[in-house]
């Protein structure tokens, strides 16, 4: 089979609109999904455990007597750690260690400073009390996702990380539980879907409410997270995964083809884009794609993704490649070039930047250290990878001395009266010396 891939050239007069069309992605949510999610949220909010039991019986076909039975013991997690093959356990532990070590660099500390008159200003950094981690169950079980979401929370100092993971028909994934044990997850409930999100947001008799819910999930989970935002914090609602590779034409085209596949195999909506100033290299990668595709286990998904959403883009030079990349603001950006440092200086927006020919994006998904939860669909223009900072918050500290309050009370009084807020003015004026 020969897969047809969109080819663009940045010098085309219609390049802007072609690029916009390529990037467009329909994120509208079916009305029926919205209604169903709202119903589940309302039921769990008002009826707690009883509703969680009913929905778990209905959607996961589990018949249990109480939500307490859905909690997994620490012994069960430790057993999972023993059950999995030794090489997987070692790999999980190595990945966890690198993720922990990288994220420790993100820790923020409180600070304050004193002014001449004794006035103190500062910022106090504190962890969230409790974080909820959603982990998808069933066939798409991602232990790496457990590490990436739970470890930053623990590094931030969150006292209790509560994980929810559905076990449809009772199917348990030992690698996911092993990852939870390694990451230091505090409690695990085998519940999923919108009912799990509702339980974490509102709390039930058995499942504690949390301050923030993170982690990937299907459309029901994503919709539920969007609905409970405000009651709790949430991470970004992720769109399909994307990779953008900028290559100078000197990397093995098979490597680049496989890097593109590594996004494409996620799902049909995933987007893989290659930009190069070398037209013959684009041809070579296209040939590699066609050569390698039949050898792939997930060939069908890859083909659907590559033919509907991938593109090979020719540019005049690497600077133009950086300019196009900045317009896309990709989730993953590979700089597969001779001098990645020089090119990085021109990059303004990207979730993660993979430097040089040896840095396959897949390394970042598992064990490089940085987080694999990254802003998608161009949101890297204004948002960041998941990090320790997502599990900490700040409080401003303001402490005026008597003379500071005297001096600044006068300023506040003028401005408050200018805004017509006289209680503000008088509150400040009480602290002004007569």
């Amino acid at each position: 089979m020969t897969v047809s891939i969109t080819r663009l050239n940045a010098s085309q007069s219609d390049f802007d609109s072609s690029l916009a069309k390529l990037l467009a992605w329909d994120d509208s949510v079916d009305h029926q999904v919205n209604e169903s999610v709202r119903h589940i949220l309302h039921e769990v909010k008002t009826r707690g455990d009883a509703a969680v039991l009913e929905f778990t019986e209905k959607f996961d076909r589990l018949t249990i007597a109480s939500v307490a039975e859905l909690e997994m013991s620490h012994d069960r997690l430790q057993k999972a750690l023993k059950n999995i093959p030794g090489d997987q356990r070692v790999a999980l532990e190595q990945a966890a260690e690198r993720i922990r070590s990288y994220h420790e660099h993100q820790s923020q500390t409180s600070w304050q400073y004193q002014e001449e008159d004794g006035t103190v200003l500062g910022q106090k950094v504190t962890p969230l009390d409790r974080a909820g981690l959603y982990v998808p169950g069933g066939k798409a079980a991602y232990p790496s996702s457990v590490l990436m979401n739970a470890i930053p929370a623990k590094v931030a100092g969150v006292s209790e990380v509560v994980m929810v993971v559905p076990t449809p028909d009772g199917v348990v994934n030992d690698m996911v539980l092993a990852a939870a044990a390694i990451a230091g997850v505090d409690r695990v409930f085998t519940v999923g879907g919108a009912q799990a999100v509702a339980a974490l947001a509102y709390g039930t008799e058995t499942i504690p409410s949390v301050d923030k819910i993170v982690g990937p999930g299907n459309i029901f989970v994503a919709t539920a997270k969007r609905e409970v935002f405000g009651t709790v914090g949430i991470d970004m609602i992720a769109g399909p995964s994307e990779i953008l590779v900028i290559c100078d034409g000197e990397t093995d085209p098979d490597w680049i083809a496989m890097d593109l596949f590594s996004q494409a195999e996620h799902d049909e909506q995933a987007q893989s884009i290659l930009i190069s100033p070398d037209a013959s290299f684009l041809d070579a990668v296209e040939a590699s794609i066609n050569k390698l595709l039949p050898t792939m286990e997930r060939a069908e998904i890859i083909e659907a993704s590559i033919s509907s959403r991938a593109a090979l883009i020719q540019v005049a030079d690497l600077s133009e490649a950086a300019a196009v990349s900045n317009r896309i603001a990709p989730e993953h950006l590979e700089l597969s070039v001779e001098d990645p440092e020089a090119l990085m200086a021109e990059i303004r927006h990207a979730g993660a930047i993979f430097m040089g020919r040896y840095t396959a994006e897949a390394l970042g998904d598992y064990c490089a250290g940085p987080n694999h939860v990254l802003p998608t669909s161009g949101t890297a223009r204004f948002s960041s990878p998941l990090g320790v900072y997502d599990f900490q918050k700040r409080s401003s500290i303001i402490g005026f001395s008597a003379s500071g309050a005297d001096r600044m009370g006068r300023v506040a009084s003028v401005l408050a009266r200018g805004e017509g807020l006289t209680a503000h003015a008088r509150s400040a004026e009480y602290r002004v010396k007569k």
Copy 2:
């Protein structure tokens, strides 16, 4: 008139449920508002300037020929700076200087580190390209809000700050424009409502699209911001303003009453709470409230807020006060006590903490330096004051050496195969030495 104020005691058996009832706040949005906002967003997204003109004519009763006429020149802003009274100008400049100086402490810098085998990991911090700032027009004109939203963006390094402010019936507020000039706002358009949010989110022929929209607004503006979230970033959707004062009973009760009024005067939904272990002090503050209320310019709003949403809460001691405060996670927290440092150590969640008897909350609203845009409705459990960090984002940096890719490729391969993602595995394996 005697205003009736809710009185609670933390030792009551029904304290938890009474507190929950006190804090409950209905944030549901009228169906009609949602529909109207969606219509406006769709029209501006698809018809650009033409739709902006139509809605501005309809809602602000302005008849102009083009959106370009809605842009205010830099000369006009400078003229506003000359128009306002001298004391207001000086006060705005002093406030701006303190806000800038405080926020400079929040700047984040890029970092990276190298491992033994030459692998480089890090995080690159970059500013947003463009930020949009919504400023309400009409009677509730808040120049302080211009300073608080624009200055952190400029400190972050945002190249272009675009401000929108409605001028219903052509009424322009010079103090707001003067604040824009002082804060370094780059462009100002006199357009408001959902149409202004839509223009900033999608861009029109004349108004540039931005990466993030911040700033307060009415229900139409808040609903529009919620809808465009994802296309652009937004700040928190604010609920009613709140203050929580913890007092040991030794502060002048008139001061405390006025501090409570300074929130209550914002609107009927604002919430003012006082906690003290001293029951007679609660009585004294209640007496002060009744004494001072008739002298207030905004007495009607204050009375409505105090009688419907305020509370005086008696606790056993200051530690219990801190515990109750942590459950509320207040926007503004005054520690009007002898040793505020000791009490602060027990505070886990608050937008801003005002230390000691001299630190009136109102100082923080205008000129202390820290931001007055703070998490409301208990969201201080998981979110932070507006800051420089809201106008910067991070990109992970991953650069593997050949030997690093060899070592880590093996780990990634095991984990990717464990997750059934063989393109990921093969992409990593290409970089592993044979």
